[in-house]
Each structure stands twice: as structure tokens, then as C-alpha cells.
Amino acid sequence: MKSKILLLLIVIHFVINAQTKISKSHSYQQLNCSTCHSCQIPTKENPCLRACPRESMIRIDQKPEEGPRILTINKIKETDIYEPVIFSHLAHAEMAEISGGCRTCHHYNPPGNVIACSECHGLQRKREDVSKPDLKGAFHRQCMNCHRAWSGNTDCLVCHQLKGKGKLVSQNKELIVKRIHPEIKAPNKITYTTNATAGKQVTFYHNEHVNLFNYECGDCHKNDNCVKCHSKINTVSTSKKSTKELHNKCSNCHDTNSKVNCSFCHSEKEKGPFNHLVRTGFDITKFHSKLSCSRCHTTKNKFSGLSNECSFCHGKWSWDNFNHKITGFILDETHGELECNSCHKEPTYSKLDCSDCHEDKSYPKDKPGRLIKRL
């Protein structure tokens, strides 16, 4: 009997769940129910949602274009004062892309699609559970955080239009639909002149960090907001920053505490771009240039500990698993049957030694096959 009731409850639970707007299949996701719900069987009436676990955010990544282009915010019936707000979701999503992405505003999201603010923040200000703000509060807390920093004031009329007082430019629907944030042009290289006693210059190759090291904007810019580029008040913070604060952005990946490392970034003259051969003694331009760093450096932000011996990554080579042609050199018949180490004495396969068989021959003067254009 008991188990039947339980089964029934579970069925009801799914039926009800299927009706809620929160992505229908969310209960089938790889997630512990108790992350979000505090009771065994949540229902629509009593979802027993836990307070937003903002620390244990569930990651959502959607492209700005995947969200709505504009939103007309007319749920909050304060109609006696203001007209509904027309909000360019696209432009804001594009702006957010540089910092935290969707998460900049959608600070908590169950797995699945990005959900609207109103899914968690109710319309009623007068309510039983006041542990999280209502929708009006939630909206303004998100908006004002940036808008205030950006404009330095809290003017309501920037977004709101008083009822019956003509159209604001900022509320012109046709204009808002077209509104996008221009593509952010990232610099290739930034040179900083620092106060360091030794090594005044720091050359930062932005393009390398993005293209070569595959960092996402948010990895470094997650705490940046609009003011970083647009400020109606002060552009640059004049308050003196401590050494620690200055290093903050870099210290996520670079160990900025140890004095030994200073010269990694600091030098007297401008530094050249990243060169794997110079930095590590391992030339990647020949065979590994198309790989992303993470193919070999599999632990994020850890780049040491790899050996330059081929077998370290590739395992043991034999004729079964190695096609010599890809090196740009086709071996002739006689040489095509030898063991690798008959000619390549070193584990890096970089040099060629003919002396085992030939006394009078040497590479590259004599070739055990023919060179072709490398594949």
C-alpha cells in the first residue's frame, strides 16, 4: 500500500512538473534534487525551493542571439506611474558576454534553458516568503548595479517613462529592436610601464591569451562592468592600488607571489610574443602548431611537467600505428621495414643516425627515401 501511494505521488509529481514552466525535463537532469528542493516531493504549489545557492551556480552558456531580442516588461503593474519598459535583451546580453555571460544577470539557473527572472521572483511584494526579492526588486537590483556605476546617478527616466508624458528616445521600440552592442575590438598587445624597480615593462599579448591559450573573456573580465570602457564619471580609478590588486588579474593563472617569477612578465624592454621553443625548448611549430594548448596541457593553468619525448604523449610507435608519410618524408622500401630506433637514436626523434649500417653516409646529405610536401 505504502509503495503504491509513493508511486502515485511520484507520478503526480511528474505530471505537475510537466506543467510548470521551468524547463519540463529538468527533473530528469543529472542533478541532485536536493540541490534546489528542500522536501522529498516538490509540487507546483509547494516547490519548497531552497534559497538560491548562488555559490554553487549551475553554468549556463547561451549565445546572445539565442535569447530574446527585446522584452517588454509589463508584468509589474505599477501602471499608475510608469509605462512598460522596453528592454533590449540582445544589447545587454552582448555587453554581458565580456564579463560573466548570461550569469551576469541570470545568477541562478537550473539545468536546461535560461529561465526568466519571474520564474523565481514573484510579482507580489506583499507575500509570505520574503527571503528573496520580488520581481520589481530583482530587476532593479540587476539593472542598477551597472547603470549606477555607468552613469553615476539613479535617474528613473533613463529606462522608465512617466505615464502620458510623451515618448522617451530610450523607449522607442523601433530603435531598441535595432540596438546591438558593437563588437568589442580587443587589442593585440598592451604594454604597461610599471613602478617595479627592476623590469619596468610588462608586455601583455592579449591576442595570445585569447587565441593561443584559449581564455574566455570572462576568465579575466568577470568582474568588469560597463564602466571599464564607458564611464560618465571617472574613467580611470585614481585611487592607488596595492601591488596585490595590480596583480590580481594575472594571479589567477600566474604565480605572482614568488619573486622568482617576476621576470616572466617584467622586463626592461618590450618582450616578444610567446614562443614555445624559446620558453620551453620544445619546438611546436613543425608538428604541433594547430593544436590547442589544452590538448597536451590537460590540467587548466598547469603547463609544467610535460616531457619532450614523443612517447610521453603518443605512446610507443611502430609501423602499425605510425605513418611516416605525415612527417613529409616517404621512406624507401629498404628503410621502410626497420625499427624506428635503428635510425632515430633519441627519444625526441629529432636527429638521424645512419652509422649503425652505413659508415660513409649521413643525413641530410644522403636520404633514405624522398621528401614530399608535408600533409
Binding site: V130, K136, G137, A138, H140, R141, R148, T154
Partner: protein, 300 residues
């Protein structure tokens, strides 16, 4: 100086008043009213969320039929150059305290009556014009008030204001926690309008819990102090902030309810044993003066 002499005057008036009613047979307070209800309401003011838009000031005035400038004019932040206090024309005001670091926002603090759980104004009022209501509000009754302004002296937050500019029937004015509105099931006007919901309206008990949860969840955002949880025995309006409340000009108060000055003075009377006859004589004089004044006012 002016203030001090006014205070002295008020205390004197109160002394007289106290002695008079001390002897009158009328019951001082409607006792059941001043019992604390478990479910009394309160407001949690999150000063880290408040943006100083002053919409609350506007809404409060509209709700209380006080004259006000148009809503748009409240966007003007230049008023923050001066520190303001609530008065008879504005039952609540928002002040601003500069940010400590450039990348931080200034802090805005809304001030109004705290609706103390053990209100000094209630115990100070000799005719029981003040009462702590079941819902949590401390309200004032114009019919009972004799204008002694005792409450003004007693209040540890200096909230009750007197309509000094009004010659006829001046009233004590202070935030009434929107007593009328809440009776009708509405929210206090300021709570309803606040765009940030920096003012959270709920059961006081609940709010205390929420406040501590917030502090626990965001230790960098808040200092570990809920102002009003214990101050003067607890208040219905409570505050969260990210710096010491003293820096935001909140009075540093103990956990004990602020004494109604009445008690102190009544003790004083007892100590000096002023003969009742003298008090009656004094009363006579006061009444006579008042009567005469009324006449002149009416003549005018």
C-alpha cells in the same frame, strides 16, 4: 544651545504635565494595546541595496497627504549635500554617506520612526496618546495629545516632530508605519514603491532570521550586526549595512528599552515630595495661561 534650552523647556513642561496626570484618576495607557504581538510586522532596510532614489519619500508624502514636488524632481541628488532629519513635512528622509573607495557606491540610509518594541514615546506620553499596536506600528492619537512634546524628548532616535509652524492645533507628526494602509491590507507606501525592495516588509521574527541568513551568505557584503534587533529592546524597523552603524550616524544604544522620561521624573517628584497642593496651583496657572492664549488666537 537653542536646542538645549528647548529641551529644558520641554522637560519642564513635561514635569508639570507628569505631575498633573500623575494625580489624575484617568488611566494612563490602554494596556492591551501595548502588549507585543508575536506576529507583529517589521521592515528590514538593506542599506547595501538602497540606491537613494528617494521614491519612498515621495510615496510617504502622497500617502499622508503632505505637499510634495512632482515625482521626477526626486531624481535630484543634490539634496544629499546636507544631512536631513524627518520632520513634520517629511516623515521619512534618505541621507547619503560617501563611499570609502572610488569603485564603491555611496551608502544611502532611510530614516523614519523605528517603531520600537518598547517605545520610549509610549511610556513617556502622559496621556497615552502613543500606543504600540498589534501590527507593530507605534501610532499617535491626535484626540488625546495635549501637546506636551514629551515624546520628542524621550525618543532615542529623535523622531517625533512638532508642527511648530502651525498656530492652530499643531500636531505631533511621525511615521505611523502606514497604519491606515496596512489596516486596509495594503503595504506601507514606502515599501510598496521601493524599486530595489531595499525595504522588506514581513513578520519581524521572520525578518530577523532573514537578516542573519543574509549576513551568513554574504559576509563580505554585511557587517555582522542587525541594527534594531536588540537596540532599545528591539525595534520593528531593522537595518543591515556594510560598515559600523555609528559611521552612518545611528545612535549607539544599549539593549535595554530607553526609559520613558516620565518614570525618571515621577521618581524625582517622589524624591522631592512636592506637595500636591502646589501642583494643583501650578496646574491652575498653566490652564489659565492656555485659556488666555486660546482666546487671543481665536480673536485673531
Amino acid at each position: 544651545m537653542v536646542n538645549e534650552s528647548r529641551r529644558k523647556f520641554l522637560k519642564l513642561t513635561a514635569l508639570i504635565g507628569a505631575s498633573i496626570t500623575g494625580l489624575s484618576p484617568r488611566k494612563l495607557k490602554a494596556a492591551p494595546k501595548n502588549i507585543l504581538d508575536k506576529n507583529r510586522m517589521g521592515v528590514l532596510v538593506d542599506t547595501t541595496a538602497c540606491i537613494g532614489c528617494r521614491k519612498c519619500e515621495w510615496a510617504c508624502k502622497v500617502a499622508h497627504n503632505l505637499p510634495t514636488l512632482p515625482l521626477e524632481s526626486y531624481d535630484d541628488r543634490s539634496v544629499f549635500r546636507n544631512m536631513r532629519r524627518p520632520d513634520d513635512k517629511a516623515l521619512t528622509v534618505v541621507n547619503e554617506y560617501p563611499a570609502k573607495r572610488q569603485e564603491e557606491f555611496p551608502i544611502n540610509v532611510k530614516i523614519q520612526c523605528m517603531h520600537c518594541d518598547h517605545p520610549a514615546c509610549v511610556s513617556a506620553c502622559i496621556v497615552g496618546a502613543f500606543s504600540k499596536e498589534e501590527i507593530g506600528a507605534v501610532v499617535w492619537d491626535t484626540k488625546k495629545c495635549i501637546g506636551c512634546r514629551y515624546c520628542m524628548v524621550a525618543c532615542p532616535f529623535q523622531i517625533p516632530a512638532f508642527e511648530f509652524n502651525k498656530a492652530i492645533q499643531p500636531e505631533i507628526r511621525k511615521c505611523d508605519f502606514c497604519f491606515q494602509r496596512t489596516k486596509e491590507g495594503k503595504l506601507p507606501a514606502c515599501v510598496e514603491i521601493c524599486p530595489m525592495e531595499a525595504l522588506t516588509y514581513g513578520k519581524r521574527e521572520e525578518l530577523v532570521k532573514i537578516a542573519h541568513e543574509k549576513i551568513k551568505l554574504y559576509p563580505e557584503r554585511y557587517i555582522n550586526h542587525v541594527y534594531g534587533e536588540y537596540e532599545v529592546g528591539g525595534t520593528s524597523w531593522m537595518y543591515l549595512a556594510n560598515r559600523d552603524f555609528v559611521e552612518l550616524q545611528f545612535p549607539k544604544l544599549g539593549k535595554n528599552p530607553a526609559p520613558g522620561v516620565t518614570e525618571a521624573i515621577q521618581h524625582g517628584i517622589f524624591a522631592y515630595f512636592v506637595p500636591p497642593v502646589a501642583l494643583y496651583a501650578l496646574l491652575g496657572v498653566v490652564m489659565w495661561i492656555n485659556k488666555n492664549r486660546k482666546k487671543t488666537v481665536e480673536a485673531e
